[in-house]
Amino acid sequence: MGLISVKLEKRNTPPVWFQIFAPFIAILISLAISSIFLLILKKNPFTAFYYMFVGAVGSKFALLEMLVKASPLILTGIAVAFAFTAKYWNIGAEGQLYAGALAATWFGLMKLPFSPVVYVLVIIVAGIVAGAIWSFIPGYLKAKLKVDDVVTTLLMNYVMIYIVSALLNGPWRDPVTMYPSSPSIAPNAYFPKLIPQSRLHLGIIISLLAVAFMWFIIKKTKLGFEIRATGASSRASNFLGINTVKSIIIVSIISGGIAGLAGVGEVAGVQYHLIQTISPGYGYSGIVIAMLGRLNPIGILLAAIYFAMVITGANVMSYNLHIPIYISDVIQGITLIVMLMMLLLFEYRIKIGRGK
């Protein structure tokens, strides 16, 4: 049917240069497509992207702010990528992030008599455990009972966000302002600042460790092999004697734990208290980042930095040119789709011709 016929021909693995440049090409194509929506509002795309770029890296302040945004994005990207490597569709990084933030706040509010080093470690562990538990539930349901992972992980986001809302409007409501935000956590649980007079905190180092952690686990360990095998083909994995049920449960725990860490960083490194809008969708951005980074740890690091630039830059663009801030979501959606299309070129040559 139609005037155009699209034919796909199997090809061998494309050259390495193409594999490396594909995400960059995807970024350029998606920015070009996003320009359409700027033009609809009669905004000059070049001016807009200029402000976006300057807003993200144009000054030392901008650059540091961008890195503050990058740390949760790296973590959610890594969290999602771990799960997707095993073809476990964890779309619940957002809820797991909130679970981590909730646990960090809970322990932070206890005002325990710990030294800063110990207290920071305590809330980090609390956040990892909370995210891991929240993610273990759908992971277990998927692995043992074949309950659809996409739906459970997504729905649990809403459940967690309502739990946080109940706490913020109930027992944790700030008694002074009566605003739905928790009181501040203990100052000795704050993440240390890396650079004085900036907001750059320990979180970015944790994020880089998570990148190294993923590289090590996936590439260097037996567990990583099992995770990759589970993702490649669960039937073949069973044949090889790999316990895919176990792999999926483990991957769900790791994935949730890392997403939980992102929540800890936002509470202890940025806000110092819990608010309803602690994440503007970092968990969902993690999906885009994981795909743009091709589930590769270094790729994810770069993709997260790119989207940190988009998000930070969109603020400045929005402020100066009155372009709705949501352009950054539009760019994220388009980038995800374009990157997915690029991945097709890894497997196939596309022949476009006249229809029959």
Partner: protein, 311 residues
């Protein structure tokens, strides 16, 4: 608490159940068409969001409710077409394509809403659809006020259930949809155009999802709110599984969840000790529980998630 025992309470509750179930019925029927043809459409949440916006903004600018409903459905149909291009023509991963559409459509919705409306302290309103009492039928005790005193979109949803069931199970077209979802190679061998059937199914699905979204802004409420769909699209994905891909069961599933939503709305404020968020999260928790129960007997279309490439 004595009000729980009165007839007006129950009639009010059941009527609210049907009202709240309406968008779920429409979206779940849409997803059923999509999945029956072999494509999981995770674009559902975003398509509903865009439909809610398209319907609202059309009525806001033109005061024409029918044009709003039409354009909302049309926007859904176009997103369905796009989803078909990605997953049918290109054979891309259905999970990621759908999520991409949801992120894109939601972003676009907020982007244009903010561009057109700005950010006023009180969101602008429109005059929504009002309930129409159907002569004679609305006079039937209990059933009358529950089923036959609703808005036009609810009537459409109620009629769409048997029509969808008839289309899917009693017509050649429905047989084609089911066959390309079960065994596309065999369907192709007997002359069914797999691509065409999947395209059409996804477009029907999209139109229903767009209309479902419009219900929120044009009937349930009279304004557009951020995250107005609030995960109802994801609930619909679960309802498809619960309903075992059968439209008649979609109806009962949607009513069940509409009921839980409606209970929550009614119980809010009756008890001080339970925070209202507990009622708000109830439908999501219950959806997960129902999924666990129905996972064992769920029999998804065999070709779901599998792209078809003609050699």
């Amino acid at each position: 608490m004595s009000s729980f025992l009165t007839l007006p309470f129950w009639i009010g509750f059941l009527a609210a159940t049907v009202r709240v179930a309406t968008p779920l019925i429409l979206a779940t029927l849409g997803e059923t068409f999509s999945e029956r043809s072999g494509v999981l459409n995770l674009g559902i949440e975003g398509i509903m969001m865009f439909g809610a916006f398209a319907g609202f903004i059309t009525v806001y600018l033109t005061k024409n409710l029918w044009l709003g409903v039409t354009l909302a459905s049309l926007s859904g149909l176009l997103f369905g077409l796009f989803m078909a291009f990605l997953t049918v023509t290109l054979g891309l991963n259905q999970h990621v394509s759908g999520l991409g559409i949801t992120i894109f459509a939601t972003g676009l919705t907020y982007y244009f809403y903010r561009a057109i409306i700005g950010s006023p302290t009180v969101p602008p309103t429109i005059t929504p659809f009002t309930a129409i009492s159907i002569p004679l039928l609305s006079k039937i005790p209990i059933i009358g006020p529950v089923l036959f005193n609703q808005t036009i979109i609810t009537y459409f949803a109620l009629i769409a259930v048997p029509i969808s069931g008839y289309l899917l199970f009693k017509t050649n077209f429905g047989l084609s949809i089911r066959s390309v979802g079960e065994n596309p190679e065999a369907a192709d061998a007997v002359g069914v155009n797999v691509y065409k059937i999947r395209y059409i199914s996804l477009m029907i699905a999209g139109a229903l999802m767009g209309l479902s979204g419009a219900f929120f802004t044009l009937a349930e409420f009279n304004m557009f709110l951020y995250d107005i769909v609030g995960g109802r699209g994801w609930v619909s994905i679960a309802l498809v599984i619960f309903a075992n891909w059968v439209p008649a069961k979609v109806f009962w599933g949607a009513l069940l969840f509409g009921g839980i939503d409606a209970i929550g709305l009614r119980l809010q404020g009756t008890s001080i000790s339970v925070p209202f968020q507990v009622y708000l999260m109830l439908p999501y928790v219950l959806t997960i529980l129902v999924l666990i129960i129905s996972a064992r007997r769920a029999s998804a279309p065999s070709a779901l998630l599998k792209p078809y490439r003609r050699e």
